[in-house]
Structure formats: C-alpha cells, structure tokens
C-alpha cells in the first residue's frame, strides 16, 4: 500500500526542490501507475481495489502538483510551513500591479485591433515569458530556502498567480476568437 506519510517528492523518488526533471517525473509516474492503477486489480478483492484506487488517486494528485510550477511552489511552501490564502494574498509591488493593469487594459481592447487574434496571441506570448522569468527566480529561492528566501518565494508566487489568472482570461478570449475564425 502506498505510504501516505511520504511527501510527493519521496513518492516519486525525487529530491525535494523546485527544479524537477520533467522526463524523470513522467517516467516514474508511469512506472507507479503501472503497478497501482485500479485496472491492475480488476479481479482483486474489494479491499485491494480500494487501496489501489486511493493509491492511484494520490499518485495522480502528486504528479499534477509536481508538474505545474505554480502548484509545485505552493506545495514546497506548505512543506516549509507557509500556507497561502490564494484568495486574499496579493502583491504590493506597485510597479508590477501597474504593469498588470496595462496588460488587462490591453486584453479588453484586443477586439478593436486590426487582427485581434494575432494581438491576443502576442499578449499570451508576453505573459508566458513573464511567468517563465518568475519560474527562474523561484528556483533560486528554494536552493537554500532560508526564511528570507521563502518570503521572496511567497512574493514571487503571488505574482505568478496574478499572471496565471490573466493568462486564463487571455486564453478564453483566444478560444472565442478562434471559434469565430
């Protein structure tokens, strides 16, 4: 049975840290599901089927968390005892917030552009680059994970969440425009 006291990194036999090797992660994910997935226990007893269902659910959750940089950072902070309230916490970095407002205005005006679809793709590209930059900054904070660095990580995470939310909105506009093509 899957040891539920293990953290997600231990489950996958990976070192605890923000940098995760994507190939190793998916390889191990597949190896684990191969032995624990309910389909491996189709003829087993109720009890075994329940254990395998719980185990496979846990592995899926762990994989989804470690795969996504924002979920991974949130999880790492929790491991260090920092629980973030996703709804309430926002950054107070004024420059960042101003920039966000501008991006948001740009999204609102995208339909007035000559080529709205190109414009929205361009916007998405810039947001993705910003997130990528933050992902790079995040990695550094977890190398030693001093209290100061963890606070910095928390601030970076706040910004990442901001951008992620905006990206979701951008993608939904892109989807609408694509459907109209």
């Amino acid at each position: 049975m899957l040891d539920f006291s293990k953290n997600y990194f231990e489950l996958f036999g990976l070192p605890v840290g923000f940098i995760v090797d994507a190939d190793s992660l998916s390889d191990r994910y597949r190896d684990l599901q191969r032995v624990i997935h309910p389909d491996r226990y189709a003829n087993a007893s109720e009890q075994e089927r329940l254990l395998s269902l719980q185990g496979a659910s846990r592995i899926n959750e762990a994989f989804a968390t470690l795969k996504d940089p924002i979920a991974r950072a949130t999880y790492l902070l929790t491991m260090h005892g920092i629980e973030m309230d996703a709804q309430k916490e926002t950054t107070s970095d004024m420059a960042f917030l101003m920039e966000q407002m501008e991006l948001r205005e740009e999204l609102e005006g995208v339909r007035n552009q000559d080529d709205p679809y190109e414009a929205v793709l361009d916007l998405r590209g810039r947001i993705n680059r910003q997130i990528k930059t933050l992902v790079g900054q995040m990695a550094v904070q977890f190398e030693n994970a001093t209290p100061d660095q963890l606070e910095d990580a928390r601030e970076i995470l706040r910004k990442m969440r901001f951008l992620q939310k905006l990206r979701t909105e951008v993608e939904s506009v892109a989807a609408d425009l694509e459907d109209e093509l």
Partner: protein, 623 residues
C-alpha cells in the same frame, strides 16, 4: 463458471485459467460485441453472420425483439419500438424535450426525473432498453465462445457525464453482467490502433458515431495511453446528418412537419440511405413515398449534401481545437488522427478533419468495429488473461465537477481533463448554532451559473454533532474512480463523526428502483432473487480465492514466513469451505474475515510492487 484451458505461447507461467471476456460497443445506432480469440480481437457475428446489431428494441405484444427485426418493425410499430436509447440514457425528461420534438415515443408523466416510454409491454426506461441490447450481445458472445462471460468492458463516449455513465452501468447490472470497466470510446479505438502498430507520440482520435461526437488527444508511451484532453458533444452524430437531409427532402417534396410517425421514420431511413450512397457516388436518386401513397422523385448531389452538413462538421472542429488547446499541443505535434464511428465514412468529414490536423486521417480499421475491438483487448487484460501485459490506460474526466455556492454559482472542485482516478476534499462549516444537517448540490459543466451546468445529485449530510455556528468542520471528499463515476463521503473533523450521505441522483435511478426492475424483469420472474444473490456471492468468493491463490503462487514463498503462510493457508481453506455453502451471510462473513486476516499480505504485495517499480531510482544519487 465454464473455463477453457488455453496454453498461450510465450507465457511462461503455470497454465492459467483463461477467462472469457468481451468488449461491448453500445452504440446509438448499432452495437457490437468483440472478444480476443487466438490473440486477435474480433467482433462476433450472430447466427446469420451479421456483426452489427441495430440498437433498436421492440417492446411488442409478443415480447421483446432486439436488433434487425426491431429495426424493420420500427416503421410499422414506431410507438413500441425504441431506437437511439443512448441519446436518452442518463438524461431527464426536460433534457430530452430540448433535444427536439422529433422523437416519436409517448413519454409517460412521472414524478421521477427518469423518462419512461409507454409501450404495449409496459412503461420502459432507456436503461432497460440498453439492458436488452447488452443481454442480446452477451448471449451472442457466450454462445460463440462457449461459456459464461467472466466480465465485460463497455464503451461510452468520452464526453458522457456522470449520470450517463452511471445509467450505462445500471443497464449492465440489469443485464446481469459484471462490468470490468467503462472505457471511453476514443481510448478503446486508440488501443486497437496503438497495439496493432506500436505507435508512439501524440495522437488525436476523432469519433463521430450515430449520436455522439468525441475528440480525444492522447500521448502513447511504452504501452501507456495517457489521455491529455477530451471534448465533444454527447448529442451530435451521423443521425443529425440524416435529420438535415430528411428535412431538406420534406421541403423539396412538400411533406408537412406534422406527418405521421410512419412517414417520418421512413423518411429518416431514406435520408440515411442517401447519405451512405454519397460516400461513393456524387449524386443519388431519391424516390420517396408520400403520406397519401403517391411518390416524389428527385436527387441529392454531394455539393448540396456538404452544404447541409457543414455547420455540424464545423461544430466538431471547434471542439477539436479546444481539445488541442486543453492538451497544450499545436497542430504540428499531432502525429496521426484516427477516424472512428460510422459517420467518419462521410467524405466531407474526412476532408475537413484532414485539413484541420494537416494530416491524412487513418481509416485502416473498420470505423464501426474499432471501438469494440479495443474494448475486447482491454477486457482480455482486465480479466487476467495477460498478466504480463504492460498496457495501461490513463483517462480524464471530460467535464468539470462543481458545487453550488451562494448566489447559484458553481465552484469547481475537479477541473475538466484531470486524470482519473482523483479525490478532492473540501471543508464546509455550519452557519447556524446546533445545525445537524447540510445540503450539497453537485453539478457538472464548465459554466459559472448553476443553471447552465448539469445537475448530478443532491447530497444531504446528516448526523453532524450540534455545535455553535462555524465550529463544525465537515470534510467532504469527492472521488472519481477509473470509470469516471463520482462518489462522495463526509466526516466532521473535530469529532470524527461520519456524516450520513443521502444521494438523490438528479437523472438516475436509485438503487431501490434498480432492485425493483431486476425483480420485475421478465428474465428473473421465475428466477428467485435469493438464488441470484447466492450465485453472486459464490462468484465473489471464488474471485477472492483465485486472486489469493495466484498471489501465493507468485510470491508467497518470498513475502511470507512460515507462520504467516500457515495463517493465510488456513484462511484460504476456511473460505473454500464456506464458499460451497448455501448461506449468503456465511459467505459474506467468510469474505470479510479473509480480507481482515490476509490484509497484511495484500498490503505487503502492493508495497513490494511499488518498491520494485521504483527500484533503480535512488533518491540518494541526487543528494
């Protein structure tokens, strides 16, 4: 249970009892059953050599007729002959009305949300109609394979919601079948193709059946089929092409909307023939019998036909683009597109899908049979006939699950395209002093407003210990299993009290209703429910015994010391003894007793396999 001994080449293990298993494609228009025989998945024909079973059931004065004969009868006896029950299954009366008023059946006014159709043989639900089709196919398989089926895999559209999946499983239960898995149709098709060709990389499966459309994006990697995203429309298919053609003919021939059922049925069949003719010819002649007995003659050419169906094809392409976005893949990354479902024979569909993915679609396997073949392969593995097979299917939930919050909004708990099985917990609190009950409404869908999503069920939590407002912490866990079916459990955190959950499925049958149906069904009228239950218990006990025996043979010596081995052997002997008794409760107790005594061994085996899977991956090497 009839067992055949088959020595499969390349299987080094002790002679394994080969279990009979089948894959069933329960389609809107046609259904099929397939099985793996001599290593090959084949669809099984009926005694007349026909593979396709029309999904039509006649509940006539002289009993139940399924298949081709019922399809023919549909023209003369439309009210008692139910076709396309798949469009109705797991849906409410209101949903069905919104599907269009062209269904020729008489719906009975009932208090429950499950629609009932009036026939001369009594009122029937879509679940019962599907159960008749499943029974017919299972009988065909048992006759051909020469024994009882140990289990079946039934395919469902990937885009089926929880209610539709549950209803399909209920139909199997009514038909007396053991369901090894509900498998998504596109995934089944991928299995049939993937194993045949050893394909790797990202693939798209475009599945346009008679009444449903699915698109799935999968990644194939060393025998693991990982569904990245799925999308579709569970009320769009080739039948809708027929409908458009029929409407066009009506306008041309001056047939009124209120024409009689028989004329409308005949018209649908003429429209279907025209569509089929156009897969080869560029124009087809039409010769239509009018309500007054006279005839109208005309023709339909490809250009007109394409113009009629283009809006529907466009809807499918929009879903394809969304699925690609959800999977995070670009056009160029998709290696191949597999075409599934009878409606993909339409030339225009192939053209437009090929254009979208910029690749020639794969049509090597008969699009009608590929789903059943894939299901048969999976059934063979799940039944335990291929213990060394590496294949694994990782599917996703097609639509987000949410909870109703204040203001009639949906709060998403599990996002669409999350890999299943999945479990998510959410904490709730009471808002009144001494509150002991709480209502939770679960919906499925992407929209923000509850009214725009599909209601799945209402849960009532009872037995919360009385506390001041806000003090109770009720943790509700939503779990979706590998079949895509939801279950809910709840616990009050501070006291550890399990809250009772009463489920009111919005569009499903309750367990009690299924029980009543089983009791009432013609097949079981003479059959005593008790003896049926006894048989089920005995089969369960046999399964536990076999599983344990297989485990002991595989690793009993390695994982158990002498003392432990004696305990397991004794428990096994005790269950063997009781399994032959005629006492349901004794067998039940025997099973739970062995689960308790041998639980340590079960856990040790699972640990061992996890340990072996992770062997070679050493954490320390990074530190």
């Amino acid at each position: 249970m009839a067992l055949m001994q088959i020595a499969e080449p390349g299987q080094a293990q002790a002679p394994h009892q080969h279990k009979l298993a089948a894959g069933i494609d329960l389609g809107t228009t046609n259904s099929l059953v397939a099985s793996v025989r001599s290593g090959k998945a084949e669809t099984l024909p009926d005694e007349q050599g026909r593979h396709l079973l029309p999904s039509v059931v006649q509940f006539g004065e002289n009993g139940v007729v399924v298949g081709e004969a019922a399809r023919v009868a549909a023209v003369t006896d439309p009210l008692n002959t139910i076709a396309s029950a798949k469009r109705l299954i797991g849906r409410g009366v209101e949903d069905i009305k919104s599907l269009g008023n062209r269904l020729p059946y008489e719906f009975v006014q009932t208090e429950t949300a499950v629609p009932r159709i009036r026939t001369v043989a009594g009122d029937v639900t879509p679940v019962e109609v599907s159960a008749e089709i499943l029974k017919t196919l299972a009988q065909r398989a048992e006759r051909t394979l020469g024994g009882d089926l140990a289990g079946v895999v039934i395919t469902v559209p990937a885009y089926f919601d929880d209610a539709q999946r549950q209803a399909t499983k209920d139909a199997a239960k009514l038909a007396g079948l053991k369901v090894l898995r509900l498998l998504n149709e596109p995934t089944a098709a991928a299995v049939a193709y993937g194993l045949d060709k050893g394909a790797e990389g990202v693939h798209a499966i475009y599945d346009l059946g008679g009444g449903t459309f699915d698109i799935s994006i999968l990644r194939l990697n060393k025998g693991v089929f990982e569904v990245m995203s799925t999308g579709g429309d569970s009320a769009l298919g080739g039948d809708d092409f027929d409908q458009l053609v029929a409407e066009w003919i009506m306008t041309q021939a001056g047939i009124q909307d209120d024409a009689d059922h028989m004329t409308l049925r005949r018209l649908m069949q003429d429209a279907c023939s025209a569509k089929e003719g156009l897969t080869e010819a560029d124009t087809v002649p039409l010769d239509i019998e009018l309500p007054d007995g006279s005839r109208w003659q005309g023709s339909l050419d490809l250009e007109r036909f394409n113009a009629l169906i283009d809006p529907l094809i466009k809807k499918t392409l929009i879903a394809c683009r969304r699925a690609m976005r959800d999977a995070g893949v670009e056009n160029g990354e998709i290696k191949e597109v597999v075409m599934v479902g009878g409606a993909t024979r339409v030339r225009r569909v192939r053209e437009r899908v090929g254009d979208l993915f910029a690749t020639e679609p794969l049509v090597d396997i008969d699009p009608d049979r590929v789903v059943a073949a894939g299901a048969a392969i999976q059934a063979d593995i799940l039944a335990g006939n291929k213990p060394d097979d590496e294949m694994l299917l990782l599917d996703v939930i097609p639509l987000s699950l949410g909870l109703e919050t204040m203001g009639g909004l949906s709060e998403k708990i599990v996002a669409r395209n999350t890999t299943i099985p999945v479990a998510r917990a959410q904490e709730f609190t009471t808002f009144k002093d001494g509150q002991t009950a709480m209502a939770i409404h679960v919906v499925q869908g992407e929209r923000e407003l509850i009214s725009d999503c599909r209601s799945l069920a209402r849960f009532e939590l009872r037995g919360i210990p009385p506390m001041v407002a806000g003090a109770a912490r009720i943790r509700v866990t939503f779990a979706v299993d590998a079949d895509g079916l939801l279950s809910v459990s709840a616990e009050e955190q501070s006291s550890g009290v399990q809250a009772n959950i009463e489920v009111k499925p919005s569009y499903g049958l309750t367990d009690g209703e299924i029980e009543t149906m089983l009791r009432d069904s013609i097949d079981h009228a003479q059959d005593d429910m008790d003896s049926r239950n006894l048989r089920e218990q005995q089969v369960d006990a046999d399964r536990v015994i076999e599983a344990l025996e297989a485990a002991l043979a595989a690793d009993g010596d390695r994982l158990l010391n002498d003392e432990e081995r004696r305990i397991v052997d004794a428990a096994l002997a005790a269950l063997r003894e009781v399994a032959r008794s005629e006492e349901i409760s004794a067998i039940k107790e025997g099973i739970s007793a062995i689960e308790k005594t041998c639980g340590f061994y079960v856990e040790r085996r699972m640990n061992q396999s996890i340990h072996e899977a992770m062997a070679g991956h050493n954490v320390n090497e990074f530190e």
